[in-house]
Symmetry: C2
Subunit: 231 residues, 2 copies
């Protein structure tokens, strides 16, 4: 049996982490059932055996794998049917996409919504989150958020590679969704589940792709509403 | 026989276009011999039958293909041995990488070296280049270059996805070089062949990868010297 330890907020059903969502979407893509173990930032005992201090962590019949990218690679090697990469070259190339998504999408989104994210936690997790994230950001969450939102147009402009790819093909992975789509989509789900902040303009063509992603896997990500539908 | 129409400067042996280099490297990767037809910006008759107004254009036994990305996909489908993608998903995902390289690497490099590129041409091509590129840039080549060079540190910072990927694996495509490597490397070859401007710091770890790329295919890109070797 596959078990997935994944971050939750004060509500155990509120699985909000972009890295958890990437793994979930890969599991769904491959048609692999899994048992979810939601954990807060402060609950680490359940996956101690993995050696990892952060989630997501996957346990596949006693085999532990951490890091969302390593988990995707593990799943691809162990369950090659219904591939999310399809070749060793694609897996290598996906590392570049992974780093791009981190630097250009997840990284810039984080400070823009950080003041909303913290509201999702109970008091203990709020303290942990504020202390660790303010050390990372080098300023208060509120100041970081204010500064980041002033650069919203830079973030939107920085999505040009995603936006222009979708002019050529329906998904970032070509004719159907695969790992690159899940990596990018998960970032928007995360933002959506933690903050009302409008990351995209309502007429951004990326919204149409987000709507298609939401409808995959019997609407597993039905929580997500593209920004053009929000207005 | 495969024929490749590719841009040259006033010296027919000076094949400098990043898009031509991507195609060359794919052909070498697949071990496909080809006949080069160097053309200047103003020589379009040789590939008129392709319907394309720009090079590179490939003619494979009478079948014409233009656009460096489409040529890579054509070669992969027609000559699947020694893959540069290896799967349909990789080819789809490569579109995202292609758009990323355009927006984040080729795009920012262009104005930084444009005042040097123009020096490579004869008078007729210089006039054509200045007129068309100044219209594109919205200012004189000299002003564009000055402004772009003031943002050199932004360009270097924008390479974080490339730099950090190479911490995990020797090539951008994983254990060995493939399309993503050629797409990025070709941009640096182009800059190197047209301008002395130092795009990278000498201690940038990207230089080590550039040195490995130069040594592929019996040093086909031996013209390229990483910046750490230049000082």
């Amino acid at each position: 049996m596959i078990e997935l330890f994944e971050l939750c907020s004060k509500d155990r059903d509120h699985i909000f982490s972009p890295f958890a969502w990437r793994v979930r979407l890969c599991l769904l893509h491959k048609g692999l059932g899994f048992k979810s173990h939601p954990v807060t930032f402060l609950e680490k005992d359940g996956f101690k055996a993995s050696g990892s201090k952060t989630v997501p962590v996957l346990c596949d019949n006693g085999r532990w794998v951490s890091d969302s990218f390593d988990i995707a690679c593990y799943l691809e090697r162990t369950y090659p049917e219904k591939p999310v990469f399809g070749s060793a070259i694609a897996m290598g190339q996906a590392r570049l996409v992974n780093q791009y998504v981190g630097a250009q999408i997840v990284g810039p989104i984080f400070p823009m919504i950080v003041g909303d994210i913290i509201k999702c936690f109970d008091d203990d997790c709020r303290d942990y989150f504020r202390t660790s994230r303010e050390a990372f950001l080098g300023c208060s969450l509120e100041d970081a958020q204010k500064a980041a939102r002033e650069k919203l147009s830079d973030f939107r402009a920085g999505l040009v590679a995603v936006r222009s790819s979708l002019k050529y093909q329906p998904f970032l992975s070509g004719d159907s969704a695969a790992w690159a789509d899940y990596a990018v989509f998960a970032a928007f789900v995360w933002a959506h589940l933690t903050s009302p902040y409008a990351l995209l303009e309502t007429d951004d063509p990326i919204n149409k792709w987000l709507a298609k992603m939401r409808d995959l896997f019997d609407g597993h990500a039905a929580c997500f509403t593209p920004w053009y539908e929000k207005t």
